[in-house]
């Protein structure tokens, strides 16, 4: 959660800098800044909506399968790296990872899934 908060804070800082640049033409402004700001704000909104609903964290498919919110992305990455969790030990692992990615895309870029 601390990492998500940090990432969110960094994203907000980046949005503010982009808006500030846009409002100060002498400094120049990045191309596509309007579209990027819109996209960033929509990512934030969906993340916050998910959190407010209380049921859909991005790691939720992993918690659901492995049991308990200590079994999130960090934990699973380590288990896969060490080959403690493989295709052989967990036949559904590809499907679980697929659900996890789909949950992330639903928050970050739902158009991609269309």
């Amino acid at each position: 959660m601390r990492q998500i908060s940090q990432r969110r804070a960094a994203l907000i800082a980046a949005i503010l800098k982009e808006v500030e640049d846009k409002l100060a033409p002498a400094k120049g402004g990045a191309r596509y800044s309007h579209a990027m700001v819109r996209r960033a704000l929509s990512v934030l909104k969906r993340e916050l909506d998910s959190e407010a609903s209380g049921t859909v964290g991005l790691d939720y498919p992993l918690w659901q399968y492995f049991g308990g919110d200590e079994h999130g992305a960090d934990w699973l990455a380590g288990k896969i790296r060490s080959r403690t969790i493989t295709n052989q030990s967990h036949h559904e692992i590809e499907a679980v990872l697929s659900q996890y990615v789909t949950a992330k895309l639903a928050a970050y870029n739902p158009d991609f899934l269309d």
């Binding site: 960094a10 990027m36 960033a40 990512v43 990455a77 790296r81 080959r83 990872l97 697929s98």
Partner: protein, 364 residues
């Protein structure tokens, strides 16, 4: 049109020492840098379009009004990318081999001229924005011929072999280690330096490692590979390819690495049906490539390298986001790159599933 012109301008005092240096290097005199505009793209490096006036012509500067491109480091960069000296050497070798690259004119490794190493190259015309190219209203007219040209140019790069002395700094493939094994190690190292775990990337890495035996079963000759040859890194003017850009990742590798990178879904900019960079189909590309290097495309290797391509771009994107998230360089473009990694993860899983089921991947 010059790609990305007008993104932002720089105070000219930033380039105050440049006129004298340009004069020394080119032999031209009475040079005035009249304007400098940052070109689009370049999350890792910066490109500036310089408008200069020249009194007396020199070796590569004509008298009158001219345009040049200055390429230098962005405020923070990736450790895996070459410095400007190496990139200048790579572009010089490619230019001499007849590859469509901007002519590199002069290199400055001293930080005291503009504050960082840089080089000067020819300003080329053309559109470089990937999204604009794949959505161009005339793409269906020029896409096939363009992709054929891309095939020819990529093949020309792949005719350059490790015997070239000017590229001796590329001796980064240890004996007996295949490029694939090296990329796996690089991606693992890349993931290790990120604050969060990425289970899909780890899964793809294990899959790539498990399939190394098949990949390494036969000897494969190494050639120069661009390693970032994709839509967004070349310029197109009126449907014609004008220049291959951004040589900072070039290395000795297997040609399939370049072909798969160009064909990876992540570089189709949403135009997924046209496999080669969202521009046209594979047959046109292969026709161009094999016009120069007959029967040389290792089609069986492409799905493997496409998984590698998705993984590599995911790791780079996550690192770009980390540059923002860590506070090293506040940039919305960098921040959003990290959120794109989920798309590459999706592609990795889909490709692995296809290859495992015997469907052969998406390259062909």
């Amino acid at each position: 049109m010059i790609s990305g012109i007008g993104e932002s301008s720089a105070p000219l005092h930033h380039f105050a020492g440049l006129s004298d240096w340009l004069s020394e290097q080119s032999g031209a005199t009475d040079i005035i840098v009249k304007a400098a505009q940052k070109l689009s793209g370049g999350a890792i490096q910066e490109n500036w379009l310089l408008s200069v006036s020249v009194g007396q012509a020199g070796r590569w500067l004509e008298a009158g009004e001219s345009q040049l491109v200055l390429r230098t480091d962005a405020p923070s960069s990736l450790s895996v990318s070459h410095g400007r000296r190496e990139e200048f050497a790579l572009m010089s070798v490619a230019y001499d081999a007849g590859v469509a690259v901007p002519q590199p004119f002069a290199l400055c490794t001293q930080p005291d001229i503009i504050g960082a190493p840089f080089f000067i190259m020819q300003a080329m015309t053309g559109e470089g924005q990937g999204r604009k190219l794949v959505r161009h209203p005339d793409r269906s007219r020029f896409g096939g011929a363009l992709v054929r040209q891309l095939g020819i140019e990529m093949a020309r790069i792949h005719t350059i072999t490790p015997s070239i002395a000017a590229l001796s700094f590329l001796s980064d493939v240890p004996n007996g280690i295949s490029p694939a094994r090296q990329r796996i190690a690089e991606c693992r190292e890349g993931l290790d330096t990120l604050p969060q775990g990425h289970p899909v990337c780890e899964y793809a890495l294990n899959w790539l490692e498990d399939n190394l035996a098949v990949w390494e079963a036969e000897e494969r000759a190494l050639t120069l590979t661009h390693r970032d040859f994709r839509t967004g890194n070349f310029l197109v003017d009126d449907g014609q390819l004008t220049a291959i850009l951004d040589w900072e990742f070039a290395a000795w590798s297997h040609p399939a690495e370049d072909i798969a990178w160009l064909c990876a879904r992540c570089w189709r900019f949403g135009n997924d049906g046209d496999i080669v960079g969202g521009l046209a189909g594979f047959d046109e590309f292969a026709a161009g490539y094999e016009q120069l290097l007959p029967d040389s495309i290792d089609r069986g290797a492409l799905p493997y390298w496409q998984v590698m391509a998705e993984l590599r771009w995911a790791v780079i994107a996550l690192h770009q986001a980390e540059r923002n998230d860590s506070g090293a360089e506040t940039s919305l473009e960098l921040a959003l790159s990290g959120f794109m990694a989920a798309e590459m993860e999706y592609n990795m899983l889909a490709l692995i599933k296809e290859v495992s089921s015997g469907a052969g991947g998406r390259a062909l």
